[in-house]
Symmetry: C2
Subunit: 302 residues, 2 copies
């Protein structure tokens, strides 16, 4: 159950995370001013800042202190943002609007849309590398490990891999099996949540086993979120969701619900959600906020 | 003067560099197979492998040994390749052919063209991070510094910044001053050469002053190469260049030659080329191969 108190806390923490992300955005000057403006326009378009929030919460859960996590929080949001910027391109989803504003390519032209996405992805790594400037040399292995997770989960064995499988499924070039569908949900949606939770833990000095648990937690949250999305498409409130109910069916889109039916889909969300909560409780830390996040993201029908 | 002996050596070294790059390409399997194929197709399209060659030569010049440079050589070629893949997109230059084969988007579709470029850029960082696996912990600061150079020179303060200024100049949205032209040449062309030379030096343990000299050397080579390109467009042999002579004039393209005239442009190439050679000779190492590269790239009229 999501309380008003939690909503308040979430909104405060999201503002804090956003302020951290903004501090790492590049100044808009020089002959390359336009691409810098387009990058910042994209990040400043808003959003729930869920990934930096997850990272910060995981960092705190494992006792992390200091600024070392901040460049990674900003880098994660830049990666998430670049994926939206390229997703909106005419070559991909061809979207003109996002969150009530023109998409980046619509505002700055298609060439700048490509370059702003590239710029954000590249700048994410430039930014994450700044963690070395505030790390003690004995912390280097943590930063290195965090960088490896960041790169892997954003790339062809993470988000980009999921995008590829999704693009092919949407074009119906390839039959969408359950295995492929879960691959897409895991890589396209869960990967950056896994990465955020893992990086927070690693930078705080968590053990490899604990980082593995965070990876599992990210899977549960990401996949449950996606299945819940499919369920809400069938039964949900169109106003709250911001897209017409039943749009998947109209588009003949294969989803977890079309494969398994509504009841089994609900059971799977329930199972994933319970697993997520028990993973958090096993850690014996102050996981109240992260448990609230699981509730908030998965049990959206409440 | 470019001897047959040098040509032979260059071609051997390019093959060696290419073999190293190929070893780091991802296997083509999994549900994301198509994007992996598109990435490898792009890298395997050929090219002179100049950037990894520069990196290896600089690494050797400063006494570097071992494998630590190899992931960076591969990463550099992946970054160069992704920039071509995105450059060829309909949203940018809209090219169907490169080196006699279909461009990536033409072979795999536009969405895959975007994703393959993203995949290569991201995989470049995944690959460069592998240097930590073969580095002793006292070499971590070198690898960190090399990563910082890699990221900066590829991004908005390097290649992408140059692309942005170039896109705007080509659309004639903004007047092309000499200052802006040199900015484009430096960032779009020289940045990755600078980065290659600097990373080779840094990984071999060169001092910051020596790395600065390599940055200057990369500037001289990159900018001289571009001005020479503009000169050859006016006077050159169209067969050797592979593009019709005078195409810049036909496109009313502003170049160094249109701004300064042929004679002054030649003098500037001469000056940059001499500076490059004397920078190399100041190092008192075995710089014969790099001097040959300067000759080969700049004095192409010989």
């Amino acid at each position: 159950m999501i309380t008003q108190d939690f909503q308040q806390k979430l909104s405060e923490k999201a503002k804090q995370a956003e302020a951290i992300v903004y501090r790492f955005l590049p100044p808009e000057s020089g002959y390359q001013k336009t691409v810098l403006e387009a990058m910042n326009y994209s990040v400043e378009a808003g959003g729930k800042r869920l990934r930096p929030l997850f990272m910060m919460a995981s960092f705190r859960l494992f006792g992390g202190q200091g600024e070392i996590v901040e460049p990674f929080m900003a880098a994660m949001e830049m990666i998430h943002t670049y994926s939206l910027v390229h997703d909106d391109l005419p070559a991909m989803d061809n979207d003109d609007y996002r969150r009530g504003r023109h998409t980046t390519w619509k505002a700055y032209g298609e060439a700048m849309g490509v370059l702003a996405g590239d710029g954000l992805l590249n700048y994410a790594f430039e930014t994450a590398l700044k963690a070395f400037d505030v790390a003690a040399s004995e912390e280097y292995p943590r930063v290195i490990s965090a960088l490896q997770v960041l790169a892997k989960k954003a790339g062809v064995y993470g988000m980009i891999g999921g995008q590829c499988a999704d693009v092919e499924a949407e074009k119906k070039q390839i039959e969408l099996t359950e295995d492929r569908l879960l691959f897409i949900h895991e890589l396209k949606t869960a990967a950056l949540i896994q990465s955020s939770l893992m990086i927070g833990a690693i930078l705080a000095g968590a053990s490899p086993e604990q980082a593995d648990k965070m990876e599992r937690l990210g899977y549960d949250i990401g996949v449950a979120f996606q299945i819940q999305d499919d369920i809400l498409d069938v039964i949900g409130d169109s106003e709250e969701l911001g897209k017409p109910v039943g749009s998947d069916a109209k588009n003949e889109k294969q989803t977890y619900v079309t494969i398994h039916g509504l009841e089994n889909s609900r059971k799977e969300v329930e199972r994933l959600s319970k697993e997520a909560i028990s993973l958090l409780q096993e850690l014996n830390g102050d996981s109240a906020f992260l448990e609230g996040m699981v509730d908030y993201l998965i049990d959206r029908r409440k």
